[in-house]
Amino acid sequence: MFLALKEMARAKTRFGLLVAAIALLVFLILFQQSLQNGLITGFVGAIRNQNAPVLVYSVDGQRVVQGSIITPDLEAEVRAADGIGEVGRLGQSTFTGTLSGDGGATFDTTIIGYELGPDGQGLGAPAELVAGRYPAGDLEAVASTGGDDEFVLGDTVVLQPGGFAVEVVGLADDIQLNVAPTLFSSYDTWAGAVQSVNPDAGDPLPNVMVAAPADGVTDAQLVENINDRSLDLDALTRADAANETPGVSQVQQSFQLIFLLYGLVVPCVTGLFFLIVTFQKANSLTLLRAIGAPAGRLVASLLIQVVIMIGAGLIVGTALYYPLSQARLGGLSLRFETGAVVFWSILLLTLGVASSLVAARRVLRIDPIEATTGAGVGV
């Protein structure tokens, strides 16, 4: 162990470069992990973090809230389904907005309208607020936090064209839809907003029905009951509705491919590095073996170096990742993913040690007698 540490202390540049390479890869992995989670939360946070356990789309909507239209016939079918406890309407549209008194800079904003109920927490409301209160009536909204166009309490969002204004009275985390700042308002506020930007519009139909099962009925049973009533209805639990939104699984699959690549690269880099180092010090290792150093000790030194190098890379990479994880990227809010740090640290350390076993095998193959012939590690 002493020898391993001394070697690293004397070859700071060489080992420093390996630490830098691993740190960069760790940083990239963790950053992309935050990016993935931020993207998915930005896409479907509004579905995942609203309070209705079941969402009912029309089959025509293909599981996109704005693409779904619930006709009066379909609405009646949902309301008549067995096992239904509560049910409400939900509408969603994307608008161009400006902030009152902000010089007219425009941004995209999504409005989700739900039936408020007596306390503003009717089905479809954000599950939890971080500031302010739920809407008490029309023209009030709970806004999503995060993103470049983040709202604050008291903001008035003015829709263009038409000048329809909505005041932000509450804030909630992770309730964005389609990576746009999102407002949860009363259903009538949403309907009014739709008609304000298009004077030709007829009465908007709800995009989705939100439902909760009656006592003794599970979410899955209610989903089944609703889907059995009509082939034009597509009921999903909250989690399924979020996960099966078009694009979510593709994002996850794309990132999994990228993570797999990184997961392969780190042990490749580590393994190749220690193999090269082992070749370079072949003569010294042979000499050490010739003067009585046991092979096990040399392998232990190698493994200690591997663990220290990868450990240092993980620490530096995580340190680089931390400030970036507090940042915003366009409309996305990133966050520090502790679980990802732990998972990748264990995985990369394990893979790194495994990859160095090739170099360890070379060390074990050293024949001390070759100190007299010069064959070394044996190429």
């Binding site: 089959v59 025509d60 239209i69 995209d108 030709d200 519009a201 690549l261 090269i276 070749f279 366009g330």
Partner: protein
């Protein structure tokens, strides 16, 4: 150089590991490039197909069809401009369509356009109730002569022919008359219907700078783009390109690291041989040139294998599933980037080759 090629021919196993790793990276690179091309094509085909000098949205629309609304008086203003030759309305509604023979929950995603000026490759507007379909809808079993039912109101639209590369946001384009579009919109999206004469956007032919002229003439009521600007303004297009290019860039760096490490390893293994070669009169640059040739050959072999596999993958993937578009340009550009990475990665070994002392050939090490 001959020596390097001979080694490749006689000891191919030595290079197998690197070739396999680079092949995997090349497949990934070409697949990512083709996926990006496919995504962009499927998102933007309908706009790219426009034979226009400007696409005009309303000023607050953020280049979104559903949010745009061009009133009759604005159109009249634009038509009166001296640099304008032709003006046509265009409108969109995105819906699910029921295809005869498919399951009741198995809908095709369609983007139904009403148009006045025909895009490239699309004939003049068909009679009411009929449409030309983008050929990606063939993957949903749409056929010529078939009547599909569009949207929850099941508006019937008869497909009378296929056109290519006209999809929008990944949905197959359906190109129909103004009346078909208006009735489909009103029946299925009453919240988005528009009065007669009002369009979501205009397609304008005229002077090259007509987009600028239009916005100036309408006093800020419009937001006009050239076709290429309109393509980039489609929500998500630039973000997709940025993200994919970042991933592709990182993949190139990964290739560079792998090639660099592999040839560093080869060089370390052969230092004593290089010492002998130098003692026999070989120059450092000749030896390094040999390494470079090996790196280039390994990369070319890997890229060729990867190119073939990606083309096969493209043939195997059913149309309409993964939006992959494999082109020679994409494969060649990926190969060029990998060759660059190979050259840079291999050059890390140059210092080691230069340091080899010919005198070491007399001893035991390089």
């Amino acid at each position: 150089m001959n020596l390097a090629l001979k080694e490749l021919r006689r000891r191919p196993g030595r290079f197998a590991t690197a070739t396999v790793i680079i092949t995997l990276i090349a497949i990934l690179l070409m697949f990512l490039g083709s996926l990006l091309d496919g995504l962009i094509r499927s998102s933007t085909g309908a706009i790219r197909a426009q034979d226009a000098d400007a696409i005009v949205y309303s000023s607050t629309a953020q280049a979104s069809f559903p949010r745009s609304r061009i009133d009759v008086d604005v159109r009249t203003q634009i038509e009166a401009l001296p640099g304008v030759d032709e003006v046509g309305g265009i409108g969109l509604v995105q819906l699910g369509a029921r295809v005869p023979g498919n399951g009741p929950r198995d809908l095709a995603n369609v983007a139904l356009f009403g148009y006045e000026l025909e895009p490239e490759g699309v004939p003049a507007p068909p009679p009411d109730g009929q449409a030309y379909a983008d050929e990606i809808l063939k993957a949903d079993n749409v056929e010529v002569g078939m009547t599909i039912l569009v949207g929850p109101a099941r508006t019937p639209v008869e497909v009378i022919g296929f056109v290519s590369d006209t999809s929008f946001n990944g949905q197959g384009g359906l190109w129909a008359s103004e009346a078909t579009w208006r009735s489909t919109l009103a029946e299925n999206r009453p919240d988005a219907q528009l009065a007669d004469g009002v369009w979501q956007a205009l397609v304008v032919r005229g002077d090259d700078d007509i987009a600028v002229q239009i916005d100036a003439a309408t006093s800020g009521a419009t937001d006009s783009y050239t076709v290429s600007e309109a393509v980039n303004a489609i929500p998500g297009v630039e973000e997709q390109q940025g993200t994919f290019n970042q991933i592709i860039g990182v993949t190139i760096v990964v290739a560079l690291v792998v090639i660099g490490l592999f040839f560093a390893l080869l060089t370390v293994e052969r230092l004593s041989l290089y010492g002998v070669l130098k003692a026999l009169g070989a120059k450092s640059l000749t030896i390094f040139g040999g390494l470079m040739v090996q790196a280039v050959v390994v990369t070319l072999v890997a890229s060729t294998v990867a190119g073939v596999l990606v083309v096969l993958l493209d043939l195997v993937i059913p149309p309409g599933s993964i939006p992959i578009f494999v082109s020679a340009g994409s494969i060649l550009s990926s190969t060029a980037l990998l060759l660059l990475a190979a050259a840079v990665g291999c050059s890390f070994s140059l210092r080691r080759v230069l340091k080899v002392d010919p005198a070491s050939a007399i001893g035991t090490t390089g």
